[in-house]
């Protein structure tokens, strides 16, 4: 009898844990939504979404998210342009070209990169990369979108490389053997046969990389110059959605419009990353089949 009760109790706990995972996601969403709605009660949603000025402490304050959204998009596009070709090429090299021992070293290095805390990369950006870019490209400041893009590219690389490499390695051997049998070189096989076969996994890796870049906070907070105006090039200071929340939350009064506006920014961020990860997951599921 005691066995039955114990079984029942344990099963309850286990189910509850599963339920809690769902509850957390819903709670996160609801909290963001509730606080956002408090803003939209006094500040029209349309103005928030299409406003081109983010002036939270002026009178009256303006909470136009466009400059922040553009800041995020600029930095992300910059990072993706850098890290997708580098990442996919490295994944191909590691999976198909590098000899076994060297492959192991390369993978360890990628793991090391994955484990470097973002605040340390931000620090590197401040003390070295920013000043370096400033003098090299004669910029007015090294604290700009480009610095952020470069660092974020390296933050997304481990994700892209490891998932793409998995996808390339898991292409059935028979594909390769068939191509070799027809006299194709290793490169022709890799480029024409393996890469297309691994494309779902590679796309998933890129989506996950984008998700990581958009959501990254500390690097952009530290190196992109914190200027919430609409950027025109990557070479000028800008500010992302994430950096705005991180930079301004400490200074707001809870319950103020500014406070709610930051939650609304968080909500936009949550929705964007949710969609991106959903797409990535769909592609990942496809590779499993």
């Amino acid at each position: 009898m005691s066995r039955k009760i114990r079984e029942f109790g344990v099963e309850g706990c286990i189910k509850l844990s599963g339920l809690l995972v769902i509850i957390f996601v819903i709670l996160i969403f609801l909290l963001l939504l509730k606080e956002s709605l408090s803003l939209f009660g006094v500040y029209p949603f349309k103005d928030f979404l299409t406003g081109t000025k983010w002036l939270p402490v002026s009178d009256p304050p303006k909470f136009g998210i466009v400059p922040l959204l553009l800041g995020s998009i600029y930095v992300t596009v910059g990072a993706i342009v850098i890290c997708v070709p580098l990442g996919v090429a490295s994944a191909m090299f590691i999976a198909e070209v590098a000899p076994a021992g060297f492959k192991h070293i390369l993978k360890s290095l990628i793991e090391i990169l994955a484990s470097i805390p973002s605040v340390v990369l931000g620090f590197i950006g401040i003390v070295w990369l920013g000043p370096f870019l400033k003098t090299t490209f004669h910029l007015s400041t090294g604290m700009c979108g480009l610095t952020g893009s470069l660092l974020l590219a390296y933050m997304a690389l481990p994700t892209i490389i490891s998932i793409s490499e998995d996808a390339i390695v898991s292409v059935p051997k028979s594909y390769k053997e068939a191509a070799f049998g027809l006299g194709a070189t290793r490169w022709q096989t890799l480029w024409r046969i393996i890469l297309p076969a691994a494309s779902s996994g590679i796309i998933a890796s890129i989506m996950l990389g984008i998700g990581r870049v958009i959501g990254e906070t500390m690097v952009v907070l530290m190196v992109t110059g914190n200027s919430p105006i609409i950027p025109h090039t990557l070479l000028q200071p800008l500010r992302t959605l994430t950096a705005t929340i991180a930079g301004e939350m400490g200074e707001t009064v809870s319950g103020s419009d500014h406070y709610y506006a930051l939650f609304a920014t968080g909500l936009i961020l949550f929705i964007i990353t949710f969609l991106i990860n959903l797409i990535a997951d769909i592609y990942l599921q496809r590779t499993k089949k």
């Binding site: 844990s17 599963g18 580098l86 605040v119 022709q188 949710f274 990860n277």
Partner: protein, 282 residues
């Protein structure tokens, strides 16, 4: 050499070059931080509180704060994550509820760390009135760590042969007895590896603790879980951006200690994995 082979050589060279573009900056960066930081790391730097507006002294409270946060995160996320994974692998039927959990795990793993920070601030600090505290910070980091722990535990559970479960059930063991005696013991290595990995990430995170626990300058140890605490990652952010005229060697040394801590944890998880793999019995 045929044209096709020439193309292959050129292509492989380009791939190799791209790979070098990825790995060489990693090596240089690491070398840079280690080279600049290691000189200032000594016993007193590790064991003393910061002084004189953080321009002097050590980082002891930040080290302790980070370690406390790691432990707090583990206390909340490990049981919850393992139980949720057990549900998914051992109990879940293929129904709506299960798909919802899986979707939630995917979603949690993609939520930006700053959104976790907002959530923790709104829920734990304000709504539950825990204040800016170790408790609020640990809970926030714990929820953030859940997806990694769940995924790792799931993989570990799935790698236990189905025959073990069958043997146990055929002898009249209940489901939970089977899991506890015939599944969990053999998945512990995988669970531990995943946990250490997720905790090492939590240790390096800054955004989730910005408003939930981090103290800018608190040159003493926290008194209780309701106290604020310094943390290595936030400390590095603070001295790198908020305080002018910090001697570079102090910030480099802080970065070095943070990296070293995260690496040690990673190394621990790699060693764990390797040791258990060797001992694998089936």
């Amino acid at each position: 050499m045929s044209a096709a082979q020439k193309r292959q050589t050129a292509a492989f060279f380009i791939l190799g070059f791209a790979t070098m573009l990825v790995v060489i900056p990693i090596i240089l960066t690491m070398a840079y931080v280690v080279f600049k930081g290691i000189g200032a790391v000594n016993w007193s730097f590790l064991t003393e509180a910061p002084r004189n507006g953080m321009k002097e002294g050590g980082i002891f409270p930040a080290i302790v704060g980070t370690i406390i946060l790691i432990i707090g995160t583990m206390i909340f996320s490990l049981p919850l994550g393992v139980l949720a994974a057990i549900y998914l692998v051992e109990y879940a039927k293929d129904n709506f509820f299960t798909r919802l959990i899986k979707l939630s795990v995917v979603n949690l793993s993609g939520v930006p760390s700053i959104v976790y920070g907002l959530f923790g601030f709104g829920l734990f600090v304000l709504f539950l009135r825990l204040g800016t505290s170790i408790l609020a910070g640990s809970l926030t980091l714990a929820i953030m760590s859940l997806p990694v722990i769940i995924t790792a535990t799931k993989e570990a559970l799935e790698s236990v042969p189905a025959s073990f479960r069958e043997i146990s059930l055929s002898l009249g063991a209940t489901k939970w007895q089977t899991i506890r005696n015939c599944v969990l013991p053999y998945s512990i290595p995988g669970i531990l590896t995943g946990t250490v990995l997720s905790l090492s990430r939590a240790a390096g995170e800054t955004a989730p603790i910005l408003f939930t626990v981090a103290a800018f300058y608190l040159p003493r140890l926290p008194h209780s879980v309701f106290d604020q605490a310094m943390a290595l990652s936030y400390h590095l952010y603070a001295i790198a951006t908020q305080v002018p005229n910090i001697p570079p060697k102090i910030s480099f040394a802080t970065a070095f200690v943070l990296i070293a801590l995260v690496f040690l944890m990673n190394l621990g998880s790699i060693i764990l994995r390797a040791r258990f793999r060797k001992k694998k019995l089936w």
